[in-house]
Amino acid sequence: MATTRISYLDALVQAQIEEMERDPNVILMGEDIAVYGSGDLVERFGSNRIWPMPISEASFTGVGIGAAISGLRPIVDINIASFMYLASDQIVNQAAKLRYMTGGHVQVPIVFRVCMFYGVSIAAQHSDRPYPQFMNVPGLKILCPTTPADIKGLLKSAVRDDDPVIIFEDSKLWTVKGDVSSDLDALVPIGRADVKRVGTDVTVLAIGGAMRAALEAADALAKEGISVEVVDPRTLKPLDFETIIASVVKTGRLVLVENAHRRVNASSEIAAIICEHAFDSLRKPIIRLTAPDVHVPFSPALENAMYPKCDDVVAAVKRML
């Protein structure tokens, strides 16, 4: 099957359009969606499929859930990830729980799209990376793809999945280009990690936008003869521990890189699991590179220093050897 080289953002839009064309029950809901980001959607699908929303995150999220329970497959665009807090009652108390609380009689096939914008001086109320909070909620599936092929394949899988799925897009990856399959049914399975670079000396596991720093570091270290294995979990819930553990068993060293705040983030959980189940394989203590436990400041002078960079990853890997 042919491939085309497109950006992460274009891959996402393409997946959405292809799934809407495939299944008439897929609808799109969100603020400003008739104008931004997705190009002529109303003309293409009609106002019965494209639902521009009033600024009512707490309720339009629930409207999507009600529609999902009763036969549709909504993609709800919550836009900026920090707005999820307004919608979180409906996501946590309804979407995540209804199948369980009804003994499986109700299903909630819904996709929540949220975009993590940060590093662009929009300050603390628009810059969160809140996936760790939602990882603590049973019943949700949480995706955090880093490549065009993955976001396309995972978004398609999410639309076809019968459970509530949250996709955390990362605005830092929008411009990343990559080969994407033209096969309309090319899916990336939910719950499967991917080894982005095969290596033998150190495992670097990176989440979302942190993948850029991880890959740059792997390239730089390769020039010095250091072989880094870069693991992308892609799905944060359920986590593919088999792939992660297998890599750590092979290399004996683990660096975790992510842009969420340090306290109780995805790395905390992964580090705990490795300590519980692969401790004997570790040749050095795990290193976590994360944003610090402080709000995202407005001033670029303060914010730029917050997130792990290529140099930080390089230094961490060298400390381990």
């Binding site: 009600g66 009763s70 199948r99 609380m101 109700v106 459970d163 359920p238």
Partner: protein
């Protein structure tokens, strides 16, 4: 719109089913045979049944923590409801929902939300889905007077108005959100009046009068099916029991004993409806045989629930996801 005799007898039957079910449930709860918390619908039967009877079998509903009356009003079998209250595998939610979440999917209930106001957006979404799919279905959304002060009420009614969604918003206004009276928590004491702010029709009815509720709900359903959009109905009703069975509220009573007594003695919706039926020529023997039949159904439901199995602890993860997730990830 008025009920014909067959509908009237069915209405009476369902009201009595709620009453007897709740009386028996209260007894079992007090005796320790039902776990958790028990919110009884006694006193609110006319509101529930009057609204439900305006629906078709395939219409949807959402409800509240006071959730036992809603499925019975919609025609549910009592066995699965009682089994659910006892946490049994044969319950309508397989013992995973319980008293505040007695959502019987087989009669169109998509959720009974114990988060106050949490079901209002869901019902709005069911209405949106019916409109998108062109099914002609409507959704009846029950909520209490407390929920009217949640943001979800405001946001959802705005959307329902904007898109003319086929939803009937039915406020079971029993005057108190636990101990907080409507007078002490609503700037606008008329719930129905709030509809005007959203460009919706708002109607207030006597919630103890099943004919009044049925009429208002039927008109709302007709409007909804006809593409004229949503209606807000405020049914003024009263809960005869405490917020939860056995709840002891310290300090000064939040509602006067005389008020409770007045509703129990003068405004019992079943007594009122039975008198009306008799006055309009219904045979007492017919009503008595309905009473007896309901009594038997309740006894049967309790027997069924008591002999049913509890869920197997090994099934803890069942129904969390549509397909079991890689088992090793649980262990990890």
């Amino acid at each position: 719109m008025t009920m014909d005799r067959t509908q009237q007898l069915e209405a009476y039957r369902r009201m009595v089913r709620i009453r007897r079910f709740e009386e028996e449930g209260t007894r079992l709860f007090t005796g320790g045979r039902i776990p958790g918390a028990y919110h009884s619908s006694i006193g609110q039967e006319a509101t529930i049944v009057g609204a439900c009877l305006a629906l078709r079998a395939n219409d949807s509903m959402t409800g509240t923590h006071r959730s036992h009356g809603h499925p019975i009003g919609k025609g549910a079998d009592l066995r699965g409801l009682m089994a659910e209250l006892m946490g049994k595998e044969t319950g309508v939610c397989r013992g995973r929902g319980g008293s505040m979440h007695l959502a019987d999917h087989s009669v169109g209930i998509i959720g009974e939300s114990a988060i106050v106001g949490g079901g209002i957006p869901l019902a709005t979404g069911v209405g949106l889905s019916a409109k998108v799919r062109g099914t002609g279905q409507v959704c009846l959304c029950f909520f209490g007077d407390g929920a009217v002060n949640q943001g979800t009420f405001h946001e959802s009614l705005n959307m329902a108005s904007l898109w003319k969604l086929p939803v009937i918003y039915l406020c079971e206004n029993n005057g108190y959100a636990i101990t907080t009276s409507l007078q002490s928590s609503h700037g606008q004491p008329s719930v129905a009046a709030r509809a005007a702010a959203y460009g919706l029709l708002g109607v207030a009815v006597d919630g103890q009068d099943i004919d009044a509720v049925f009429d208002a709900a039927s008109q709302a359903v007709t409007r909804a099916r006809g593409g004229l959009g949503a209606t807000l109905i405020e049914a003024k009703t009263y809960r005869f029991d405490e917020h939860e069975v056995g709840l002891v509220i310290p300090g000064k009573p939040y509602r006067p004993a005389a008020e409770v007594e007045h509703y129990r003695a003068e405004r019992d919706p079943i007594v009122l409806f039975r008198s009306k039926l008799l006055a309009s020529g219904a045979a007492a023997s017919n009503l008595d045989s309905i009473d007896a039949e309901v009594q038997e159904a309740v006894v049967d439901a309790v027997r069924f629930a008591e002999v049913s199995q509890s869920p197997d602890p090994k099934s803890l993860y069942d129904y969390l996801y549509s397909r079991p997730i890689n088992q090793s990830s649980w262990a990890l």
